[in-house]
Amino acid sequence: MTGNLKSLPQPGPSLTGAVMVIGGGISGMQSALDLANSGIKVYLVERSSSIGGKMAQLDKTFPTNDCSMCIVSPKLVEVGRHRDIELLTHSEVKGLSGEPGNFTAKVVRHARYVDVGTCTGCGLCELVCPVTHISTFPPQPEEGEKKKKLRAKVKETITGGGSPQPTSLYKWTFTVDESACSMCGGCFNACLQGAVKWEKKSVATIDQDKCTGCGACYVACPEKFKAITVSYAADLDKSIGAALYARSELLKKGFASKGQSDCLRCGLCVITCDKVMNIGALKMVETGIEAGVDICQVCGACVSMCPVGFLAIDKLTNKSVHLLENDFNEGLNGRKPINILYPQAVPRVPVIDEKSCVHLNTGACGTCATICGVGAIHYESREEEIEIEVGSVIFSPGIEVFDARIRGEFGYGYYKNVVTSIEFERLLSASGPTSGTVARPGDNKHPKKIAWIQCVGSRDHSCDRDYCSSVCCMYATKEAFIAREHDSSIEPTIFYIDMRSFGKNFDDYVERAKEHKVRFVRAMVSRIFEDPVTGDLELRYVDAAGLKRIEQFDMVVLSVGVQVPQAVKDLAGTLDIELDKYGFAVTDGYTPLATSRPGVFVSGAVNGPKDIPETVCEASGAAEAASAALAGARGNLIRVEELPQEQVFSDDDELRIGVFICHCGTNIASVVDVEAVMEYAKTLPGVVYAEHPLYTCSQDSQERMRSIIKEHRLNRVVTSACSPTTHEPLFQSTLRQAGLNKYYFDMANIRDQCSWVHPDDPVAATEKSKRLTRMAVANATAGKPLEELEFSVDSRLLIVGGGVAGMTAALEAAKQGFGVYLVEREPILGGHLRNLQRGPDGRKFTTFIDELVEEVLVDERIRIFTSSEVVEQAGFVGAFETDIVMPSGATRTLKHGAILIATGAEENRPEIYGLGSLETVITQTDFEQALEGGGGAGWENLQVTMLQCAGSRDKEYLPYCSRVCCNHAVKNSLHLKEMFPHARVDVLYRDMRCYGLGEIDYRLARQAGVNFIRFDPGENPPKIRATEEGIEITITDPSVGFPVELQPDLLVLSTGMRPRDTEDLASMLRVPRNDAGFFIEAHAKLRPVDLPSEGLFMAGTAHGPKSSSEAIVQAQAAVARAVTLLSQEKLQMSGVVSTVDPTHCAVCLTCVRACPYGVPFINDQHSAEINPALCQGCGICVAECPAKAIHLGRFGDRNIRAKIEAYSVMQS
């Protein structure tokens, strides 16, 4: 063993250092980030208009009840802002040619009609768009033909409870243009107020005193004369549509609290229909509104204009009415043809729906383009096809939910109060259609009794969904749990077959749900009947005792399974990827992320149903797999930003602050008087420049900000705009580009905190904006430049544990071009998998392991230390030093940049039922081994009883579910039946947790005659007596209802998995483990292979029980995560870290005790010291330090006091 390893860069032929990721859900986003952060250019192609996928639709996530949007939106922002990720939304892949390393992908970019580069996402277009329904457009004239005015033949008059109450509030002024008037008298006949004076052969005039401004005359004046003109109408300079919207909004506010429901005769509906939509189906009459029901195009514009809700669309037309459904909210509410997918969408840019947009279909309307302040709307956009060169492809298009209409017995689609689980997620979501109020769609009543029905479109052979969807048991539990959190009077009941809470901490979650009064009933519901009067639902089922039950509920949620959409199947065909009969990608158990086409990798639920953490693992793993072959081209296609030198200022330099008060279109400016705030800002000390841009964040405003910084020699910048969470990084990078340290910046959020929360009090909102701006200016004044230190990264990886996960990781890291130290405690490599026999596809594990060992041994980038243990560890991310003791007893120090823990697990062997003392009592692993050896004498008629959860899910032994045992038992049963068809197998189980595609083997086992008997350790435990004489088991079989006696020849126990002893290692690395001894990930959902400390990762069963394929995926994922660090030459630390002033430090150790990350230590100068590379920047030590000797960059006492003091300065 000579010297330390050097990383060997791979000499690359002409590989393309780019990867195309198909699908922008959590899977695609994670892959994109891991790739782009390790020097690979990414093209992220997403079908819909914004990324986010299914996860963005969820309310909370199990088992931590984290808010889904809160944890996914930082990822959205990161993807959106990453300079090496090119987002191709509203786009589809149409072809892939070439070879691995050099593919050419054909991508169709559908016409979005909104320019992503210019749009600022203000959302005004969506507000002004009057269309709410799917229109039936009138036939369009042929080329050259003149458009004919529609004439209604069928007319209905809409009348209210009372007669119209004409209003002249915010009235427009109509006048007759004498030169254009044809003297026809149309206006005279139309006016209901007697305000038009006209006689035959004379020009009409309007008596402004009598006129209420309804515009009847304006509509009646023939199009060819246009003799009536409008004036004094806000926004008329933009378009008539914009003006109508403006008046409508004013009237809506004006009448909001008046309870008015009679027609106001404001004329907005009539003008909209005629002048905006070119239909002219409406007319004002004495008693109300006359509608030409046969020519109405059902766009809904008139209804959305009406300030008092006088009109209802179904009364105005004789055609069928279809609301334009909001797909993101699962059709529970409506949307506009121009639509931003959801408020936090990335890109936050709308797309115009070609099917429902009036302008794109008839040429009318066009209001959105006139209102857009940045000119981002382009109706002339057309679909375009582009070609992109990439080296690999990741296929992660995601799944859809099962169409519950197929299970007709539940009445979905007919019974309004039967919803799907994804619809229920939207009902729970604070940003959903009901703002998080649980209301049933039928009548908005708050439901009390809610039932969840499991396995709708899962585990169901009748509708070709034989597989288990893996996530429904948990999401239903979560939904029930959260529903009760929203409204504690809700009584949730979950009807299920098996409770498949097989993941890490899932069983605890279900137990907690039970404590929170979620009722679980093991029963399959056969039918639902609706009471047509009340909308309540009657459920029929057979309970555990075999009795028929009828129970009433207010609402039913169908736990719909997942399935591969047809479009994805078609896409797989285009890409030439093999799918199974259900549409899931076909992969090999040992290369679980490689599709049938070399160079194309798969990740996420399209690779079999799975939850978010498993998806994230696969996404990182696929990123690793996709980039391993491209390692030689790493860095070739990424962009490096060149920045000017930072200017240095001294404390004596004059303070020159620039303040930008943002309109945010009308988001802020419609409430806050931005000009007044700007004028006020100019009076603040140090402010030398202030302005109020329409959109501070738009591309041109950012360029302008850079030039203003230079021109006015600014040394501080403040923006009063939106949320710093989304926009601060943008402004900070603009500062940096202009040569200012990015911490010479502060931001006041006057949108969320002023205009959005105080829309009804513009004066107070303006005052609050001034105050927040003043505080931000004070904080910027107190701002100090912070240094973001750089340090070089050792590119080698230390892997602890040489099982399947550790070896896979070692090989993959080596392929990526990095040196690896692989440390294994045992004398040989291979780990627990050596004790197992065959994978699900029937191939022998030992062959696989031997091949893996061989590959690891010959790879010169991997240095192996067997019979060695880690004894000491120091350093930090990028520069670790670890001491290991080798078999010779010698200690050796390894230097490396990251650590991967793959210490694995082993079979649990508790001394129960005579295991260890009786030959007739063995574990599943022993049994598998015996089968592999051909069985024993007399096995032709062997009687076997398998006991599941033997010492698992049991507080005395292993409290958790080991996830693999049910599948293991099924595999062994099938193997036995195959070898000896006359052998008998009884499986005693609590819940058969054959998740995902494992369900198919479970079904095969039942078909093969394996007998499954359910027990409950509390109510119906099996009585087992195992002695030298034999084994006797008594158990009540719930399917028949009476006790069954078994006298098997063999009792096979499914004992579960327990982690290896890692107590010392964990304390050395300062990483947490759970009570069971498995390592705790940095985030249960989104960082499943990261440990909480920077630079530490884990893979395999050290994380929790899992199958070999899942361990391989995690190993690849952990390597991808590590490579994001190892591929950097230098790492940059955050400037916002704590530093100790040694002259004030009293060495009291308070900070050492207070730091949740154990970072502060006492150095040899007798002072506390904080390593900036390890500091997380929370500031806890700063607050705790009794001597006030610790300072947190940007959040020092100086900054906070500056803000507090600025708060109180009263102004007049």
Binding site: Y1157, G1177, I1204, Y1207
Partner: protein, 117 residues
């Protein structure tokens, strides 16, 4: 806005009162769900200490309160803020403000001192 409520200390909370706040809300992550593991628990202890100090110096302890919210709970935040403002409004201006200002301000000033991450 702070990185964590764990950053705030008693002196800063009292400084807010010195500088004219009639009430102070401290809003951290849900307990057990702190972004920085234990910051909100420490903040709670500090707020409790300030509560006692305000009681001793007769400014009134009900002018300070710690709340725990997740970032997705906008509506709950609004209801907490409204309830707290009402509570402080009932207490009237802080004695510090009454003494300081001859023409006592009638408006209730509330400073929001922390924000969940």
């Amino acid at each position: 806005m702070l990185p964590c409520t764990g950053r705030i200390d008693e002196a800063l909370l009292l400084a807010a009162f010195e500088n004219g706040a009639d009430g102070v809300m401290v809003i951290g992550c849900l307990e057990g769900d702190c972004h920085y593991i234990s910051g909100n628990i420490r903040a709670r202890a500090r707020v409790e200490r300030v509560y006692k100090i305000l009681e001793q110096i007769k400014i009134g302890p009900d002018r300070i309160r710690m709340y725990n919210l997740s970032a997705g709970e906008g509506e709950r935040f609004a209801s907490y803020a409204n309830a707290f403002v009402d509570q402080v409004r009932n207490l009237g201006p802080s004695p510090i403000n009454l003494v300081r200002s001859t023409n006592a301000q009638s408006a209730v000033q509330t400073a929001v001192q922390g924000e969940a991450t």
